[in-house]
């Protein structure tokens, strides 16, 4: 193998592939007779070419069983997903990073919007809150009042005002009548619950604490009555 490249290398290639014109061909044939390097290379390249052609023929014989034509028609039906995938395969790293950041920002924005909406919903009275007053304090006026008033009433029990309880001992029958116009199932349920929970005094109850306070108040009244009658019996001259 020659170590130096002969200046006639391009002519050698043209001659090898039979693409040299007549003038170049004659000129190179003259050169060949005097250049052992080119002569040796020409022979060696001939073997290389035959080897490559052997491989090519071998390859071509395997292609016969794999025609491309049907696949070309299938290719025309390729989805947009493939096109997107190809787009991303071509996109550089910075573009992929920017896409990822944009996606994260979008998700964060959506989460923020959802949180805002959820927060607003929490500020509005829930159905449970609306139901609570009718259960706890089924006074005759309540069904006619709006939601805000219901809320106020719902918070009343926290005051633990005994006068409220004494002033508001509406009888059972009245309660029933006042509830009639309202066809709400929840209030109906509340009535049934009241029926079960209202003690013998027929006093509507606000809460457990209220119930306890209520009982104590009534007991105190009863006790005072008994005491006064007892005193009357002992000292009838007091009157």
């Amino acid at each position: 193998m020659s170590k130096q490249i002969c200046p006639q290398s391009e002519s050698l290639v043209a001659y090898l592939y039979d693409e040299a014109d007549v003038k170049e061909k004659i000129s190179f044939e003259r050169h060949l007779s005097s250049c052992d390097s080119c002569s040796e290379e020409l022979t060696a390249f001939g073997f290389v070419r035959s080897s490559v052609k052997e491989w090519r023929d071998d390859l071509m014989s395997t292609i016969v069983t794999k025609p491309i034509a049907p696949l070309v028609t299938q290719e025309r039906k390729r989805s947009a997903l493939v096109a997107i995938r190809e787009f991303f395969s071509l996109s550089p790293l910075w573009l992929q990073g920017a896409t990822a950041v944009a996606a994260i920002a979008l998700i964060a924005l959506l989460a923020f919007v959802a949180l805002q909406m959820f927060g607003n919903k929490n500020q509005q009275p829930t159905m449970a809150e609306k139901e609570k007053p009718s259960v706890v304090n089924p006074s005759p006026q309540l069904p006619k009042e709006n939601d805000n008033q219901d809320e106020k009433v719902a918070h009343q029990p926290e005051k633990k005002d005994d006068t409220n309880i004494v002033d508001n001992p509406s009888p059972k029958g009245e309660n029933k009548r006042s509830y009639k116009p309202k066809t709400n199932r929840n209030t109906e349920t509340a009535k049934h619950q009241n029926k079960r929970r209202v003690p013998k005094q027929q006093t509507p109850r606000l809460s457990d604490e209220e119930i306890i306070g209520d009982d104590v108040a009534y007991n105190a009244v009863d006790d005072s009555l008994r005491l006064s009658s007892l005193l009357d019996k002992i000292n009838p001259n007091n009157n």
Binding site: I5, V13, F47, R49, S51, V52, K53, I63, I68, A69
Partner: protein, 192 residues
């Protein structure tokens, strides 16, 4: 129906409202184009995809064919461009690229224990050795040798397809042949 027509006549028919005529072009050239793509890309799957893309691209751009060159040259040019695009994609993706494979094959050439010529001959793997030799060439050399040996394209056609000067094509071919000879010599494949 289109068998008696030349490629250029078939393209004319396709342009005149007979798109099915292009099917004949595909049938005529699919194997050659596949072989060209395989010779450059050295991977069956990539070669098949590149071949399909070549014909699809040709069909889509049929109106861009001016008839100045032969249909075959036009197709070869598209195919080579497809292969080059694929090689670039592989580089961008950073996947096990074609160049990596090229380097792997090149490394395997200089590992005598792995690719003993005698053993390869015993197993009838001479063609595999040649494939490895071609694959071990740098892409720019592989392109010209495949276009010349597989497709028997003229120097001018290769120059047009690769957008290179004629002298560059000749010098690349010379270098490719020289490197192939060296690699095949290492395998003692009866190359002088």
């Amino acid at each position: 129906m289109y068998l008696s027509l030349s490629d250029e006549q078939i393209v004319e028919r396709a342009l005149d409202g007979e798109p099915e005529a292009f099917g004949e072009i595909v049938r005529r050239w699919e194997r050659r184009i596949y072989a060209l793509c395989y010779g450059i890309l050295m991977r069956e799957e990539d070669a098949r995809d590149a071949s399909q893309e070549t014909f699809l691209s040709a069909f889509k751009n049929l109106r861009g064919f001016r008839g100045e060159a032969k249909v075959s040259s036009w197709l070869h040019r598209i195919a080579v461009n497809q292969c080059i695009t694929r090689q670039r994609r592989a580089k961008v993706r950073g996947e096990a690229s074609l160049d990596d494979e090229h380097e792997k094959d090149e490394a395997s050439f200089f590992t005598p224990a792995m690719k003993s010529p005698a053993r390869m001959a015993e197993h009838g793997q001479k063609t595999e050795a040649i494939r490895l030799a071609v694959n071990s060439l740098p892409p720019e050399l592989r392109q010209v040798i495949v276009m010349k040996e597989f497709e028997e394209m003229t120097f001018q056609e290769i120059a047009d397809a690769l957008d290179l000067p004629l002298s560059t094509v000749k010098s690349r071919l010379y270098t490719a042949l020289k490197q192939l000879r060296m690699r095949l010599d290492k395998l003692s494949l009866e190359v002088v």
